[in-house]
């Protein structure tokens, strides 16, 4: 009677995995011998944890780990007022290492790294699932550690880590209490600040570019991590996992330094704390987003004073002008538009035409700007799909203005 494996093979099932090493009964390199950790007793049995403490003055790259700046800007950004009054010692930084990225109930967080301040030290805890059977204990330990915390900080936790952890809890019929905590996802704010300047906003790249920190060779690339865990489960050899512990630990430490950095530069409206002056524009836009136009304007002005790229200057001018326009202050907006128009900004031309036509009641000047805009569209490299729509609008405007000015029409206008 052929075995099931033979039957399946003869039915055409491609045997995906190569010759796997047989499962060993004796674990030659158990985790206990590879990293210095200890078992923890919980309501659900034993779990394994590795702890490390960093002194108060520890720096990761250029920054310390304690978030020393006020978090008002972040509170406005997340819409969570609790962040205003938050004691930075009550923050838990969390990062998970998982068995896959696809989500769903078959994905496990085999390692959960939690960093938080305990007294003066930064305490780094790593809860490791030596075997999936230990998961309930691991989750119980996590609950325990998060109990005194008031906020969570993650990197892409909104979409990935936190839903994953919630799923793990639900699978075991447990209800996670951390669901109600305030949450800052550093990925989103990092994108806001550095999308234009940095090609990659992964934690690793930010760590290098913004914090100035570097990892040792012990680090392993993220994509490799799931298979390292699977190999460990099969072979019992925990040595390759050392790199995973390191990777996870540095991720958490990086997040702490990054939050410190970000809250610092958000709290300084002069922009002095920025790692690079071209971040001024992003910072200004950030302040616009949270509704602080006054600070935004100051920062836009600072942009104009600095030696930045022309495109950035233009953007600063145009955005500032929009703020003034919304506030009803054309006298401030118009000079900005004129300055931008001088640098061939189509938007500025159009805004000027609108302002002169509808608000300043000066159709003649409006017409000049409209004509200039039409010239610009036809001679500049405006994308083809846009051109016809734009031209149609502008022509429409021109005709209307010409009608308004009937009587001032002259042969000289026909050029």
């Amino acid at each position: 009677m052929p075995s099931l494996a033979d039957r399946l093979k003869s039915l055409g099932v491609q045997i995906g995995a190569q010759n796997l090493a047989p499962r060993q009964e004796q674990f030659p390199y158990p985790i206990e011998k590879v990293v210095g950790g200890e078992t923890l007793e919980t309501h659900y049995g034993l779990t394994y944890q590795v702890e490390e403490r960093f002194p108060a003055d520890h720096r990761h790259g250029n920054l310390g780990l304690l978030c020393t700046s006020p978090m008002d800007a972040l509170a406005a950004w997340t819409g969570d007022d609790r962040l205003r009054r938050l004691d930075p010692h009550a923050i838990a930084y969390i990062d998970t290492e998982t068995t896959g990225l696809s989500g769903g109930t078959g994905t496990y967080a085999f390692m959960i790294g939690i960093g938080r301040f305990s007294g003066d030290n930064f305490q780094m805890l790593q809860l490791f699932m030596r075997d999936p059977a230990e998961e309930p204990a691991q989750l119980a330990a996590l609950e325990q550690y998060l109990a005194p915390c008031e906020a969570l900080v993650t990197f892409n936790g909104k979409t990935f880590d936190l839903p994953l952890l919630r799923t793990r809890f639900t699978t075991h019929g447990l209800k996670p209490s951390f669901s109600d905590l305030a949450h800052i996802d550093l990925l989103h704010i990092s994108r806001r600040l550095w999308r234009d300047r940095l090609p990659s906003r992964t934690l690793g790249n930010l760590e290098y570019q913004i914090l100035g920190a570097q990892r040792t060779e012990e680090d392993v690339p993220g994509w490799m991590i799931p298979s390292l865990y699977f190999d460990y489960l099969r072979s019992g050899d925990a040595r390759p996992l050392r790199g995973v512990f390191y990777h996870n630990k540095i991720d958490v430490v990086s997040m702490a330094a990054l939050l410190n950095c970000i809250s610092g530069l958000l709290a300084d409206p002069s922009g002095a704390a920025l790692p690079d002056q071209s971040d001024l524009l992003s910072l200004a836009k950030f302040y616009e987003t949270i509704g602080d136009s006054a600070t935004a304007v100051l920062l836009y002005q600072e942009c104009l004073r600095r030696d930045l790229a022309e495109s950035q200057h233009l953007e600063a001018m145009l955005r500032m002008a929009q703020i003034y326009k919304r506030a009803g202050d054309d006298s401030a907006a118009i000079p900005l538009w004129k300055q931008a128009a001088f640098h061939w900004s189509l938007e500025a031309h159009i805004e000027l035409a609108k302002a002169y036509e509808h608000r300043l009641r000066d159709p003649a000047t409006a017409l000049e700007w409209t004509r200039a805009a039409i010239q610009l569209v036809t001679h500049q490299s405006v994308p083809a799909f846009n051109q016809s729509a734009l031209l149609a609008e502008l022509e429409h405007r021109r005709e209307r203005l010409e009608r308004k000015l009937t009587g001032s029409y002259s042969a000289a206008d026909d050029s």
Partner: protein, 856 residues
């Protein structure tokens, strides 16, 4: 003119009346009405009142009561019998009273879900106002991401489909924790569509669903609906693995209906050619439209829909005053390629009577509300008797007379049915079959189930016992996908298994059909479809001409390792037919039994098919332009099959049968000289036994039969001719006869099998061999499941052997062609020439009463 008058007119007109092979008058049926139950919540009573529903049909009340008592029920009443209301009343009544209870509705198509959503909203108009029940919602691939979270949290009546359940809901069940904790009902509509491979997958998806419900502490009740099948009890209970109470007594009213079976007349009796079914259907429909009868025409393919629609509009033009617009509005097509908004428009137009005729694929077969029409015309047999009644059921308005007309195509099954109306009218021999424990299908779903929740080591899966489940789990562990510890099996792989499974086939390897797009500078590949690897070898082999949705392509490359076929659009004047060589080996004999003329067997077989080459055939003239050879790997299929062997006595009798004389003596000009040449070349002696010529000249025999060639010159090449003495010649001829008789038999049997099986002809393979190793070198015809490991089809045929032989014999006997045609024993050429007489002779000996013999 009304429907009745039109039918009488047809019968009186010889150009139509003579072709009506059967005319059944199905009498009207009175409804069996009962009052609306008192215990129905007030909100529902009010809604029914609003909808004008004063009473219920008897089966609706019965369904209500049985569901209330906690039974799983299956409604197998006809079309338009109010099945939706029958399952909705008990479910909605409960959900209005129990504020936590939830219900899951599964529909086979999104369109059906949309339709049912509207009905539910109407029924719940009052209840949602009072806030006792949040509005029902659809959760499927089209649901916008922004709505999904809200639906998961709040909706208590969820409408979805099996694919969404499989791919998204079950693997993320933690997002649905509250839903599953309170799941009281699962409603599955149109379960007759869940058969074969698809049905086997669905049965496993339901196992996973029940497993997850159990994890959250719930045990939902099942309410099912089905079209008429022969085995509703068996099918439903196999699908959900629980006992089911079947309700088949239809209490709804039905007007009288005339059902006509129409067989287009022969234009060439000898060749068995008939007038085009499509043209005949157009003519009949046009007649109906002229009589102002709102008609639906069902066609088997999208292409046919478009052709029929074009013809109908052309014919209508003179009547509507050449108003193209009007024709466009009043005569519509309907198929799945159209935008949903267009389809809604057509459905509404039908209900209002503005659309006078709709030409549709079976997309309109399933329950979408289009009102009731005056007549239904079916172009060709839809493939199952259940589908035939579904389609015919679209006609019939209130107590008015309606008509259904089935126009037969030349396919053997169609021809058999029009001459045996009792199969359609008197009983439904089709059984819906599934095999949830088919190893390939089961393996896939065990992977998904393990992903969803770890398995305990003593856990069963549906009715698969724990021990067998463990075998699969151990296998998956050895493949590195599961990790076993602490008496549990955990999913430990960086994969999302549901994504890798298509619920509609069981083949492990798919080939993507890709066409190169040369626009926008860069060359990109655009996928037009996919086929399983086995079919790919003969459908899209290198240099094949492939038709896809009325576009012709040439296959440039077939890359099996990468699973892709590269195609380019083709405008040549020929098509290709692959030549296959099939070998069948016996793996395991399960059972055998004596039958008249021989023996029947069932067992496990290995079918090895190799595509050896292909023929290029010119369109219209059917000339063979060339034959190319191919070097492709063989396909091995391990499956179950049923075969018949002929006993030695049967073979002897066939040989002696004096009917088997040579058909023709006309082998073209110069035959006499050629004979001389061949005999001379062969030294005037028989090449079979060595016997030298004595008084008479030996015969000269065509090795490959004369008929197979396009011209006498090709047939008469010296290499194809050999001298044989009369005895050897008779043997050689009988071998040819045998081969072609067996081939004809396998053709007719595999084509008629769906009468019993509710499957497509493509779900079965057939093969014949005059000296088969699977039956001690006796002549054999074998029919096997095309699904690896089989799905139970050939087993059923084994059991229906006598009936199948009976049907085959009748069909071939009754066929008007002279020597074989696609309507009976198949086109000649592959293995023999014509072969009708040979097939008949074999059938005669296999037939119990042996009444078929020399009569033609």
């Amino acid at each position: 003119m009304s429907v009745g008058k039109q039918i009488s007119a047809w019968r009186a007109d010889p150009s139509v009346g003579d072709n009506i092979s059967a005319w059944r008058q199905i009498p009207a049926r009175q409804s069996s009405l009962v009052p609306i139950p008192d215990d129905l919540p007030a909100e529902l009573r009010a809604s029914l009142q609003q909808l004008g529903i004063q009473t219920l049909y008897s089966h609706q009340l019965l369904a209500y009561r049985r569901a209330q008592s906690g039974l799983n029920i299956a409604l197998v009443t006809g079309t338009a019998s109010g099945k939706s209301l029958a399952y909705n009343l008990p479910v909605l009544a409960d959900l209005i009273q129990n504020l936590q209870a939830r219900a899951l509705y599964l529909f086979p198509t999104k369109a059906l879900a949309q339709d049912q959503l509207s009905s539910l909203k109407e029924l719940l108009a009052q209840a949602t106002q009072t806030g006792r029940l949040p509005p029902p919602a659809i959760y499927d691939g089209d649901t916008p991401a922004s709505h999904r979270s809200q639906i998961r949290q709040n909706t208590r009546l969820l409408l979805s489909n099996p694919d969404m359940l499989h791919m998204s809901i079950l693997p993320h069940h933690t997002n649905w924790a509250v839903f599953f904790e309170n799941l009281r009902y699962v409603i599955i509509d149109e379960i007759h569509t869940y058969r074969g491979v698809f049905g086997s997958h669905i049965a496993n998806v339901l196992r996973r669903l029940k497993r997850i419900a159990r994890h959250y502490g719930s045990r939902p009740q099942f309410l099912l609906t089905s079209a008429t099948i022969a085995n509703p009890q068996e099918h439903t209970s196999r699908l959900i693995e629980e006992t089911v109470s079947v309700l088949a007594e239809d209490g709804s009213a039905r007007g009288p209906k005339h059902f006509l079976l129409y067989n287009p007349p022969l234009v060439d009796a000898r060749l068995g050619l008939r007038r085009s079914a499509l043209q005949e259907a157009v003519r009949l429909t046009d007649d109906l439209l002229t009589s102002a009868v709102q008609t639906i025409v069902f066609a088997r393919s999208r292409r046919t829909v478009e052709i029929v629609l074009t013809y109908l509009r052309e014919k209508a033009a003179p009547h509507s005053g050449w108003d193209a617009n009007r024709e466009q509005q009043e005569l519509r097509g309907y198929r799945s390629g159209y935008l949903p908004s267009v389809r809604r428009q057509i459905e509404a137009g039908l209900r209002r009577g503005e659309v006078r005729a709709v030409v549709a694929t079976n997309a309109l077969e399933l329950g979408i509300d289009i009102g009731q029409l005056g007549a239904a015309v079916l172009v060709g047999y839809p493939g199952s008797i259940a589908a035939t009644w579904q389609q015919a059921g679209r006609a019939g308005r209130g107590s008015e007379l309606s008509a259904a007309i089935l126009v037969a195509t030349p396919a053997p099954l169609d021809q058999y049915l029009v001459t045996h109306p009792e199969y359609l009218f008197d009983r439904t021999p089709e059984q819906a079959l599934i095999d949830p424990n088919n190893p390939l299908i089961l393996l896939d779903h065990l992977r998904c189930a393990a992903f969803e929740l770890p398995f305990q080591s003593n856990e069963a899966f549906g009715n698969l016992p724990a021990g067998e489940v463990q075998e699969y789990l151990d296998y998956l562990t050895s493949q590195g996908v599961l990790h076993s510890s602490n008496a549990r099996y955990y999913w430990m792989a960086d994969q999302y298994p549901a994504q890798q499974i298509s619920l509609r086939n069981a083949s492990p390897n798919q080939i993507l059909l890709q066409v190169a797009d040369h626009n926008a500078g860069a060359e990109t590949l655009h996928t037009i479809g996919q086929i399983d690897q086995a079919s790919a070898l003969w459908m899209v082999h290198p240099q094949a001409v492939y038709l896809h949705e009325s576009q012709t392509y040439l296959v440039n490359e077939l890359n099996l390792a990468q699973g892709q076929a590269l195609l380019t659009p083709f405008a040549g004047d020929y098509y290709t037919i692959a030549m296959q060589d099939t070998q069948v080996q016996l793996l395991n004999l399960l059972t055998q039994e004596n039958v008249p003329g021989g023996m029947k067997y069932a067992g496990e077989l290995q079918v090895t098919t190799r595509v050896t080459g292909f023929r290029k055939i010119r369109w219209h003239t059917h000339e063979v332009l060339g034959i190319e050879s191919l070097d492709l790997p063989p396909t091995e299929l391990q499956t179950t099959g049923y075969w018949i062997s002929l006993s030695d006595e049967t073979v002897a009798q066939l040989r002696q049968n004096g009917l088997w004389t040579n058909d023709t003596n006309d082998y073209g000009p110069g035959w006499a000289l050629l004979r001389q040449q061949v005999r001379q070349r062969d030294g005037f002696s028989c090449q079979g036994c060595g016997l030298p010529e004595t008084d008479h000249a030996h015969d000269v025999h065509h090795i490959v039969p004369f008929r197979q060639f396009a011209s006498p010159q090709q047939a008469n090449q010296l290499s194809n001719l050999v001298s044989l003495c009369p005895a050897c010649h008779r043997l050689a001829e009988s071998a040819v006869r045998m081969r072609s008789g067996l081939a004809g038999l396998s053709y007719v049997m595999s084509n008629l099998a769906p009468i019993y099986l509710m499957c497509d002809t493509s779900d079965l393979g057939a093969h014949s061999d005059p000296q088969s190793p699977i039956a001690g070198n006796k002549p054999v015809v074998v029919v096997y499941d095309m699904v690896p490991a089989g799905i139970g089809l050939s087993q059923r045929l084994y059991e229906s052997h006598a009936a199948l032989i009976d049907a085959a014999a009748e069909l071939v006997q009754a066929c008007a062609c002279e020597d074989g045609c696609p309507s009976c024993v198949g086109p000649g050429g592959e293995q023999g020439s014509g072969g009708k007489q040979a097939t008949l002779a074999i059938l005669g000996l296999l037939h119990a009463s042996q009444t078929f013999s020399k009569e033609i």
